[in-house]
Amino acid sequence: MDSKIFSYIDPSPPAPADGGALSGKRAAVQSSISVKGWPTEAGSRALEGFIALEDATVVERLRAAGAILAGNTHTGELGFGLAGDTASQALKNGLVDVTLMTDTLGEGRVAAASAGVFGFKPSYGRVSRFGLVGLVPSMDCCSILGKSLDDLAAFLEAVEGHDDRDPSMGDTPLEAFRMGRGSSPGSERSSLSAGVVVQSLESLNAGGRKVFEEALRRVEKAGIALREVQCEDFDLFRIVHNVIGSVEASSSCGKFDGVRYGHCAAGAKNWNEMYLRSRGESFGRVLKAYLFQGAYFQFENYPAFERACSLRAKLAQAGRKWLDGVDMMILPTRCAAAHDRPAETVEQVYDIFPLTLPANVTGQPALTLPGFLPTSAGDLGLQLVGPAGGDRLLLEAAGRLYPRTEEAR
């Protein structure tokens, strides 16, 4: 296997648990997801040489269900953005059936869309964050990438559900959401509807709009009723994510001091100098800019942060309102303008994710589907966003869009 794709390959994977739902499935996780005894460096010098002491809950659960964990894929620094990320390549090259990624801005869905595979971000609180090295605790989520909807559903089933070690998981029993694909017969919805997010189209060029219109016709043909939905404040998602995300990231990175693990600068004269130099040498330019920005709001412009928090509550409310008359929202995953060159500024990172980050802001589940939006800039991915907890509804709706025989490509 390729070390360009894997940052760590398990030399002797343990024999998989017998008879589990994932029996025989091969999986990889990003190096930001803890596997006991494996280097968990999350793409950052700040965690250089850090060996996880415990399995992340998702790792423990997917192994218990019989999956074989092949290794770690590379990740952008602390999962922020997609620079250097190899999760989707591992899938595309047929090295694994499913990969798990941390999703802060929509990294999982955008990587899946570009690679032409399925990518699913569960509702916030549905899958445990224990063992995930993330940046933005209120938005981070473990996303699942796979080549088939069945694999996605099976992996979700295996890893979801309450975990005492993640305090942000709600108390709502999972059974309340058990509907749709893979659940008991007769529970399926007879008719489904989706709201087309009008504002999301502004990010598409003419070619992009054309394929999107065509995709919508296919969706209608599959029996999903469409309706236009005006989301007036769509642009605010990005700003709110940027302010709150950077503030939380600034705090989250406080623990990376280079003392107990990670890179520690040599020859510092006192502890302040040691902190400054270790952190200065550890973080990459883009992440550093993001952390500075967060520190700015924390120390110098707290009212702006408070405003972002109240806007976030309003956006979550609006998100629920938009879903009043429809089962889900429908929009592209990537915009045509998203460039292939690596992002060099925080804004360039955000330029890649304007259509995915709303689901991180509100905690709603979102699913990207391959094959609907082929453009010269690659597959843009057709994205479905459901109500919080409506994870299975999305998988069921997606199932209707693919005749069983031509599911993955």
Binding site: S34, R129, C253, G254, R260, C309
Partner: protein
């Protein structure tokens, strides 16, 4: 202080809750263990870990707030107090800054003139303790070692309104607060052990004014006495500055108990407080709060009132017997054995407590069980032994573990109350001391005391003093 100024003092008290575990993990919350023994990936904040808020910490904190007459807030939440220092392994401290657990408390204290003064409590919030730094030398190099045993220990911080005016009031308030919190069972409140830490904010203003002037924070007092001394010093220091026309600047000073002065410390960095996204908001409902109220024991004020009502103690005796929860429980256990409550209160405060103090012993572990002590008092009341003998028996009780009846029998302390025996004794003493008898008859009543002493001595301390005096008085007439 000049008489035209008054001090405005606010106190901030950190109290460590006596929960078995830390606030966000299951590590033992225990002092005195080997460094870094009580740690785990959560309290070391290793990557991938999330805080798990302890329900027990919430319960103990709530009891503490109720004991200080606070309103428990329906919703409270943790914030991140951001600062970088080696005692804080994640760069922020989890503390309830924006939404504290409780507000609007108060305690009534007794002022120097005997009047009652109400000190208001602005808020009480929960927070985690930080690690302990140990500065040492390795050869000629200074090293700073970090002990994470204390990191994450559950604390509440109590912030008063600036209602305190004098060092005396500050000390009274702290004694009262300590008593309330110990009573509630939420904390040991030992300033010596560091489970209670007090900072004082002191400023001066013209008497009668309601302005708030620049305050100076003083820290590092490790007894209530030191808090009083440090505040007194600081008031004088500021008054002298004002007299000399020097401005007071906002800063922090450390109390130096050896030299009895405060000295300025390096400016402290105050970081921002942002809501913590990982610890869920704390929402308490009425039923749970009612349960907590019921879990709160009878507090000293109420208990003292009941002691007066139920047992007929004087106000002073009642307040003495209810000052500490263990003492009050001991008192009631003694009274349950049908001893006279007032006699019990007098003997506990007058004899037992001084004896324990002298022997460096504490009530709960004392060999003098309530049953033993009650047995002793009952013998005293039945005049089987006299007070002198009872004091002697008490000393032996504390040492031996025998019952009071056994000790009295072994040592022959049983009181002589047989009239014939006492009459003979008195006759002998009067015959041996004719001049004293003569003096008494001339009106020197002091001579009676002397003769009683002689007689008691002659009985080996065992004579029933009441009967002895009766007989003596009769024979002298």
């Amino acid at each position: 202080m000049t008489t035209d100024h008054e001090a405005v003092i606010g106190l901030e008290i950190h109290v460590q809750l006596n929960c078995p575990t830390k606030m966000f993990c299951d590590c033992p919350n225990r002092a005195g263990d080997e460094p870094n023994q009580n740690t785990c990936p959560i309290c070391l904040w290793l990557p991938g870990n999330l805080p798990r808020f302890s329900r027990e910490a919430l319960e103990k904190a709530t009891l503490a707030c109720l004991a200080l007459n606070c309103d428990i807030q329906k919703e409270s939440a943790f914030d991140q107090k951001v600062y970088y220092y080696p005692d804080l392994p994640k760069g922020y401290q989890l503390s309830q800054f924006h939404h504290p657990l409780a507000k609007n408390g108060w305690l009534n204290i007794t002022d120097a003139d005997g009047g009652t003064k109400k000190i208001r409590i602005q808020k009480i919030h929960m927070e985690e303790d930080v690690a302990r730094l140990v500065h040492e030398k390795e050869g000629r190099t200074s090293v700073s070692l970090v002990d994470f045993n204390r990191a994450g220990a559950p604390l509440v911080e109590i912030v008063t309104q600036p209602d305190v005016r004098t060092p005396h009031q500050a000390m009274e308030f702290l004694r009262c607060l300590r008593s309330q919190l110990r009573y509630s069972g939420s904390s040991d409140c030992s300033m010596e052990q560091g489970t209670m830490r007090v900072d004082a904010n002191v400023s001066l203003r013209p008497r009668g004014s309601d302005q708030m002037n620049t305050k100076v924070e003083i820290k590092n007092m490790n007894s209530i006495r030191h808090v009083g001394d440090a505040i007194a010093y600081e008031i004088t220091r500021q008054a002298n500055s004002l007299k000399a026309g020097e401005p007071i600047v906002l800063h922090t000073r450390l109390w130096d108990p050896d030299n009895r002065v405060t000295t300025a410390m390096r400016g402290k960095f105050e970081g921002p407080c942002v809501p913590d996204p990982s610890v869920p908001r704390i929402v308490v409902d009425d039923a749970w709060l009612e349960e907590m109220r019921r879990a709160l024991p009878e507090m000293p004020d109420k208990k003292a009132a009941r002691f007066m009502e139920q047992y007929g103690l004087t106000a002073e005796e009642a307040s003495m017997m209810s000052a500490e929860r263990e003492l009050s429980e001991y008192f009631e256990a003694v009274v349950e054995h049908k001893t006279s409550p007032r006699l019990a209160a007098q003997w506990i405060s007058g004899q037992l407590l001084p004896l324990l103090k002298e022997r460096n012993a504490v009530l709960p572990e004392s060999a003098v069980t309530p049953e033993c002590f009650a047995g002793l008092l009952l013998m005293l009341a039945r005049e089987e032994i006299n007070a002198n003998a009872a004091k002697e028996v008490l000393k032996r009780l504390q040492e031996s573990g025998d019952t009071p009846e056994e000790i009295v029998a072994q040592c022959g302390f049983r009181q002589v109350s047989e009239a014939g025996e006492l009459e003979a004794l008195v006759d002998r003493v009067l015959a041996e001391n004719p001049s004293a008898v003569e003096n008494f008859r001339k009106g020197a009543s002091k001579a009676m005391g002397f003769l009683m002493g002689q007689a008691m001595q002659a009985s080996g301390g065992k004579a029933n003093p009441r009967l002895l005096k009766e007989i003596m008085t009769r024979k002298l007439q």
